[in-house]
Symmetry: C2
Subunit: 180 residues, 2 copies
C-alpha cells in the first residue's frame, strides 16, 4: 500500500509571500522586500500588519496567487509513489474556500476532489507524512513531519527541513523509501 502525504497549500504549493507583497504594494503603494519576512511572523514584515491581514479577506487574494516553483512537477512525480492529499487550513478565511478549490483545479488538475481537505486544526489528519511551513501544524502531527522553508520559519530546527520542491523529491523519492 502506498504511504500517504498531506501537503499544505500556502507557502508550500502557493507562493503566498510573493502574492502578499504584490497585493500590499497594489493597495498601499509600498513594496516590502521578501528578505524582510525572514525570521518573523508573516504579517509583521509589513509596515501596517493589520492592513496587511485585511488583504486576506479580499476576493481574488487566494485564487490569483502564483504557484511555487516546481510544485506541480513534483506532485506529478510523487503521485506515482504516494497517495497525495492537499490539506489547507482554509476555514479561518471562509472566502478562501472556493478560491482554494478553484486554484487547485487550475494549477493541479490531476489532484482529485477526493484528495482535497479544507480544515482548521490539522491535528486530526491521519496521513503518514505532513509537509507544512507552520510548526503549529507540524508539532502536534502524529506521523513524519517535513518543514517546507518559508521566511517566517527559517530559525526552526525541530523538523526535517526542505528548502524547495527539488529537495523534497530528493528526500521522498530515495530508493529505501520506495522499496516495497
Amino acid at each position: 500500500m502506498k504511504k500517504s502525504i498531506a501537503i499544505d497549500m500556502d507557502n508550500v504549493l502557493v507562493d503566498i509571500e510573493l502574492n502578499w507583497i504584490n497585493w500590499y504594494e497594489k493597495a498601499f503603494g509600498l513594496r516590502v522586500e521578501r528578505e524582510a519576512m525572514r525570521g518573523i511572523p508573516e504579517d509583521a514584515a509589513f509596515p501596517d500588519p493589520i492592513a496587511a491581514r485585511s488583504l486576506l479577506y479580499q476576493p481574488g487574494f487566494f485564487l490569483n496567487a502564483p504557484i511555487i516553483e516546481g510544485a506541480a512537477e513534483a506532485l506529478q512525480s510523487l503521485k506515482e509513489h504516494y497517495d497525495l492529499y492537499i490539506v489547507s487550513a482554509a476555514m479561518e478565511f471562509p472566502n478562501s474556500l472556493i478560491e482554494k478549490h478553484d486554484w487547485l483545479a487550475r494549477y493541479l488538475p490531476f489532484i482529485s476532489w477526493r484528495n482535497i481537505v479544507l480544515c482548521g486544526d490539522k491535528s486530526i489528519i491521519g496521513t503518514d507524512i505532513l509537509i507544512d511551513d507552520h510548526t503549529k501544524n507540524l508539532d502536534p502531527f502524529k506521523g513524519e513531519t517535513i518543514l517546507f522553508t518559508a521566511g517566517h520559519n527559517i530559525n526552526v530546527e525541530r523538523h526535517t527541513r526542505v528548502n524547495n520542491w527539488a529537495e523534497a523529491l530528493d528526500l521522498l523519492l530515495v530508493e529505501e523509501r520506495l522499496a516495497p
Copy 2:
C-alpha cells in the same frame, strides 16, 4: 485527554432527505414520500434521479436545509466530554463549501472554525470515532464507527447503529466511556 469524534453533516446533522424531497417538489411538482427512500440509494427514490441530483448544484440547497432533531443539543452535551470535529465530504460539490460553512455558523455557532473539515475521501481522518450515514466512509475508517440511520442505510448491519441523537447520547455518554 478527551477522545475525538468526527461527525458527518448530511443525514447526521442536516436533514438532507427532507430537504431533497422539498426541493424536488418545488422544482418538479411531485412530492416523494420519505418512506420511498428506505433501503435504496438516495437519488433512486425520485422518479428522475438525474434531475434530483441536479438540485444538489443549486444555490441555497445546502444552506437552507433543516437541522436534524436534537442535533444541536446533543453536540452541546458531547462537547463537554469529547473533541468534536464536523467532517463533511463537501468537495464533490464546490458550491456547497461556503454554504456548509455558513450552515454550521447558523445552527452550531459553538463549533469553532478550527473544528470544521470539508473534504473528499474521509479515510485520512484520524479521530477516535466517526459518526456517519455512509458505509463508504465508515468501512475504511481506522477508529470506532457509528452508523447514523438514514433511509438508504437501513439494511446495513456491519456498524454500531444509532437511530437518532438521543440514542447517540445513550451510547457515547455512558459512565464507562467517560471515566478517565
